[in-house]
Symmetry: C2
Subunit: 145 residues, 2 copies
């Protein structure tokens, strides 16, 4: 059991990290020609596999309208495609194309190389604890009063 103050401290760390990482990602856009929003969709599909558009929106914590626009952009660039959904004929699945998979892998590899310094000081236990805290906070934000 931790104090509410400590949980606020986590949010206070999340905000600046998110904003600075987003600026960083935006600066790197020209390298791969992939916008920040498309990058997020590609990363989600790589990490969690093919899924419906509403599932992508829910997982990214954003709106279906936004994801729809990003998917159109990504499809036009040949990075994602729709595939039939065996479970729901009316709700196709989004999947990476081979080019999409290659692009997001290159992007992540570059980002991860830039984070190598941070990796040196951290342990897997630290990261496990961090992910546990972030996931519980997200649940709390979703359910919370």
């Amino acid at each position: 059991m931790v104090s509410g103050q400590r949980l606020s401290d986590v949010f206070r760390a999340v905000g600046p990290l998110y904003r600075e990482a987003a600026q960083r990602v935006a600066r790197d856009e020209q390298l791969e020609g992939v916008s920040t929003g498309v990058r997020a969709v590609l990363e989600e599909l790589l990490a969690e596999g093919r899924q419906t558009m509403p599932a992508v929106a829910r997982n990214l914590g954003t709106t279906r309208q936004y994801v729809q626009r990003m998917v159109e952009e990504a499809a036009a660039a040949g990075l994602v495609r729709s595939v039939p959904n065996p479970a729901h004929r009316r709700s196709p699945l989004l999947a990476l194309t081979p080019a999409g998979r290659a692009a997001i892998r290159r992007i992540l590899r570059r980002e991860q190389a830039a984070l190598a310094g941070a990796a040196r000081d951290l342990s897997d236990r630290d990261v496990d604890a961090c992910l546990r805290v972030l996931h519980r906070l997200r649940q709390a934000v979703r359910e919370g009063g």
Copy 2:
């Protein structure tokens, strides 16, 4: 030493949490009449004490122009004020007014009450590790390649 993939996992958790928390904060705006941006400035001044406008921008990971607008909005509402800076006469310090301090405390109390469920499952060690990871990642983003 952790893998770059694991650090990407942390960013992948930070993004949705940030976006959902921001939506939540935006929904709560009407309660206190304080916008999301003003709320961030008030919280920063409460946590870290009086400081210059450039310092607030740097700490929040945002631009001076944005902080300037938020400070004008907050000053107009009587929530922050400028005080002389003993170290630099040309760069005044921003400080909370008593009304600003009371407002941000009410906001944080309400948010923390909504997070009580998350607090129950987490330990101080988890939160310490989480903050360590987030701070190292922010340093890495700032320095990184």
